[in-house]
């Protein structure tokens, strides 16, 4: 009798293990498998960014070559305190979204689903603007958008990248973003 009870409980355990294994597969689907994570030994990523989005960013048009000559590790230490750490959406439907600058490459903004920040907004172009690191600072470039990109109150001229200071609002359609320390 006791054997049967043990078998009964073992079956229930196995049934639940299946459920847990299935959830594990879903988890790996969303965030990448743990093994791959360990192998890469990379810093903890922000929750919404996945391996695939990472891959997308790799496919983004590459930032100017200076970027490669100036890897992050070689930043002068005194710059560190002024270094912005995140891009934050302050207005619009995506308010509150944060994009960690340390772990991302150039940031593209637009309606195209492969943009880093996908804005669903009739006033935004599919490839509206991009923000990338150059030398010590961050550069904002309008990608020839229809309705323009505004830094503070001035319009950013397409194909004329400008310095993007910390805390100055950038308006793209209904969305406002800014760099934060």
């Amino acid at each position: 009798m006791i054997t049967l009870t043990l078998i009964k409980i073992a079956f229930l355990v196995v049934l639940w293990l299946f459920v847990i294994a299935a959830v594990g597969v879903i988890r790996a689907d969303l965030f990448g498998s743990r093994a791959a994570e360990r192998a890469a030994d990379r810093p903890p990523r922000q929750p919404r960014q996945t391996a695939q989005e990472r891959a997308r960013q790799q496919r983004q048009p590459e930032a100017p070559p200076q970027q490669r000559q100036q890897p992050q590790q070689q930043q002068p230490p005194q710059q560190q305190s002024h270094e912005p750490s995140a891009l934050v959406v302050t207005e619009g439907p995506l308010t509150g979204t944060r994009i960690d600058l340390a772990s991302s490459g150039p940031i593209t903004i637009g309606r195209a689903p492969d943009s880093t920040l996908v804005v669903s907004d009739d006033y935004a172009s599919s490839r509206h603007a991009r923000i990338f690191r150059q030398d010590a600072g961050w550069i904002l470039e309008d990608l020839n958008s229809t309705n323009g990109t505004y830094l503070g109150r001035s319009k950013v001229v397409p194909a004329r990248p400008v310095q993007l200071p910390v805390g100055v609002p950038v308006r793209i359609g209904k969305t406002v973003i800014e760099l934060r320390k």
Binding site: K8, F11, L12, V14, F18, A21, A22, A28, R48, S120
Partner: protein, 514 residues
Amino acid sequence: MTEVATPTAARPRRAASLGLLVFALVVTIAGFAQVGLARDGSLPTNMFGYALAIVALAGVSYFVMQKWTPYADPLLLPLAVLLNGLGLMMIYRIDQTTTTDFPEEKARFEAANPGQEYVPFGVGADIMGQLMWTVLSIGLFIAALILVKEVKAFQRYHYTLGAVGLVLLMLPMVPVIGTELNGARIWIKLGPFSIQPAEFCKMAFVVFFAAYLVKKRAALSLVSRKIWLLELPRSRDLYPILGFWILTLMVLAVENDFGTALLFFGLFVSMIYIATGKASWVFIGLSLFIGGVLIIYIGAQLIGIDHINQRVEIWLSPENYFGGGCKLPDGTVDNMMDAKPTWDECMAAGGSYAESDQLMAGLYAMGEGGVLGTGLGQGQPYRTPLAFSDEIFTSLAEELGLTGIMALLMLYVLLVERGFKVAIATKDEFAKLFAGGVSFVFALQIFVITGGVTKLIPFTGLTTPFLSQGGSSLLANWVLIALLIRLSHEARKPAPVAIQDEGMTQIVNVGNLR
């Protein structure tokens, strides 16, 4: 349906899928083994045949899935295989009982009912039949996976499919072929086969609604007036939902099946909600349905149509009808368990007879199971009428307990979740609505049947997807899974690499960037 870039792994998940599939087979075969060990103290001799058949079926479907839809969702197939396997296991378990005699039961029955033939428990459970249907279903699954390259192709035939669905839904009302079982007319009889057309209706209606809503989505999203939080659509946009409402109420009144009516009306309302994203449609749908049900039941009460009311009464107070109840014209119900008003006395007094044995036996079975269950092969699920089809949920609940049945419901939750995931990941509007509708109809069907057997809502004769014995249910559900797998493959496969017109395309090793 806002466009959200959803992270989906654009890589095949072969290992994960195969691992889970093997796990599912292990669970199923372990279940068969436990039934044998508990009943006879040894592994059942015919277990290896069943195990071989199930493994072969799962293997073939896995191979086809990897060959034709390598990027498919890794969970859909293993979940369906496990549910189907657990169903086979439970049907086998009940089928085993049929051959066993219960001498004392038989003696008691023959003493109480002289001249009548004793019908043993579990009659009707047919593991070989179910296995044959599984083979056919997997065949259809494979055919659908290979042949249906684009689910969108159905969009062209949506009026045809909608009409087919309508006819199928109405068929049980036709006098000769429609058959009544347990008070509900949801079966049709074609020669030796009984078919539950509602199963095939599901797919036809999902296709029709999806194609219809693709066309009407914009109009249905319009707001004419706003009353407090409720955004009311224009009155002329209400006609389709009203038309379908009347149709489902007809189903409720004529087929006398609350579950079927709820299933299809709920499907329509949920798909409008998926298409428009307006909660007011859910509110309108729910109030229409509740209002309609009340109208029918109160109307039936006033006119005096007993068979509709009796189903509600059985639902509200099944205890009175356990073992047969005689409802007298003055409204009191005499229980006839001890043959105390006999059948003849009841009829002479102008009463009407009904019984709630199935519902009550199912409730007792679940109570018997408790938290951990009696263990497979150690309970008495065969005592419930139709323990292998309508009541397979309570049969499993008796032998696996609350713990097991929760795991089982989790399997369904995961299946539905994967379906919605497909809907989110799919770009095409029709396919999005199709996948969303299929997932929702699975969820709602499980709610309707488990709600029915647990006395939450009136009992219904709908099948439990993949578990219940019955060919129509298996065939229809496996085709739906095949279409979901096809859609998930289309959604998850990497987009064809186009030459991007961005001046130059560079390949950058990001490792250097960091």
